[in-house]
Amino acid sequence: MVATVSTPAFEGPIDLLLQLVNSHQVDLYDVPLAAVVDAFVVEVAGWDSVDLQVLSEFLIVASTLIELKSRRLLPGPDDIDTDEELVGWEERDLLLARLLECQAYAAAADGFALLLEQAARSVPRTAGLDLDFVVNAPDLLEGVTPDDLADAFGRATAERPVPVVDLYHVTVDTVTVADTVAALARRLPRLGASTFRELTRHLTSRMEIIVSFLALLELCKQGRVSLDQGHTFGDLEVAWVADDRQPVPVGPGLYDEYEG
């Protein structure tokens, strides 16, 4: 059992990383970690017994991502200690090896798609035997009991095809971090103080909520809002820091975009 994490564009940490790596526009750090972890926790809760192998593998991937991402997201010193940088090299090497292997299989998958397409251009003859040929073959049902048939029915129905909807090429209307920063910079001064839950109450997609969160972090980095969380998993309190010296810079390209 390994956790499945499905959002429209990503499936699990490894797929996620692969997509990040393969499409050069996506920042490696913009990963919806909470979703990844949530899904995993749900999965673990369903386990009969703990699978240490899976658990530790997940922890390696997740902790590497969390480390990388937290450095990026949190306001902090501009440069980091080189010693600190070395921590986690081993994990990264492991991850790298796995990524490479996955890339090789992704390339193989592309090849398969091509072969399937080519092969589908030729259709085999399956008309079979003309019925006027004399067939003396033995009874094919020799030894088959009614119970065998019931079992076969069970097998056939247990494996119903899962209709596959390929979302690979679906593009969603994206809400940008830049737009959200601009919207919050208009809205927050009027509100003065609010909570994250309140600010995102009208939003319907997880994507919009994540983008709002990233926009708040941008404003926090700029010192325009203060963020406070009373307790773990508590609601995030957001307060506008009045500053009339200069407006919040807005416009496309100023902020890293979330491509989830």
């Binding site: 399937l116 079979g128 003309d130 040929f133 009874d139 094919l140 119970d147 029915f153 056939a156 119903r160």
Partner: protein
């Protein structure tokens, strides 16, 4: 002498056809007037003869079809008797089970449930007399419906269908089946 492009196209269609193909349908596929189909099929037929192919193109009731040359019947019969395995494959048995428990059922419905083309398997089961066409579905398409035969019951040592062991029926009903069938887009992936 190489075949004309039109004769090639007709040959390809006849190769994949399971039933005789009417001249009108060939004309439609090739976007040609129907009068031109007969001469093309003659060309094809003549080419098979002159090159001594192992099959011939013949006109029978309902259209044109490819069949093995009568000379070669001994090989074909030997193949029919040697080439078939002496037991039903797991896939064939599962298809038979679906027909037995869900009858009457169309090929497309079985295909939708099994996720694969079942034409060959259905043909085999029909050929061996385990299932038979029993009618047509109402509505567009009028798909042929299959049911098990008396021979099937006999081979399983049963008198009536309701003597089959009860199964937990996890399959979707007719409406859901139709929907499932629709979702399976008719794209060939091999």
């Amino acid at each position: 002498m190489p075949l004309t492009p039109e004769a090639r196209a007709i040959e390809a269609v006849l190769i994949v056809a399971v039933e005789p193909v009417p001249a009108g349908l060939l004309a439609e596929l090739l976007e040609l007037p129907v009068e031109q189909i007969d001469p093309l099929c003659d060309e094809l037929s003549e080419a098979c003869r002159s090159e001594g192919r192992g099959f011939e193109v013949v006109r029978i009731a309902g259209g044109f079809r490819i069949q093995t040359h009568p000379d070669l019947a001994p090989y074909v019969e030997r193949f029919a008797n040697v080439g078939v395995s002496s037991r039903l494959s797991a896939a064939a048995l599962e298809t038979l089970a679906i027909v037995a428990y869900k009858q009457p059922v169309s090929r497309a419905q079985i295909a939708a449930l099994r996720g694969v083309n079942v034409d060959g398997v259905v043909r085999l089961l029909e050929h061996r007399g385990y299932i038979a066409a029993v009618g047509r579905a109402p509505g567009p398409g009028q798909a042929v419906l299959y049911a098990t035969t008396d021979a099937f019951l006999e081979r399983l040592g049963l008198d009536r269908l309701d003597q089959l062991p009860p199964v937990e029926d996890l399959l979707p009903g007719p409406e859901a089946l139709a929907e499932l069938e629709e979702q399976m887009s008719p794209v060939v992936d091999g």
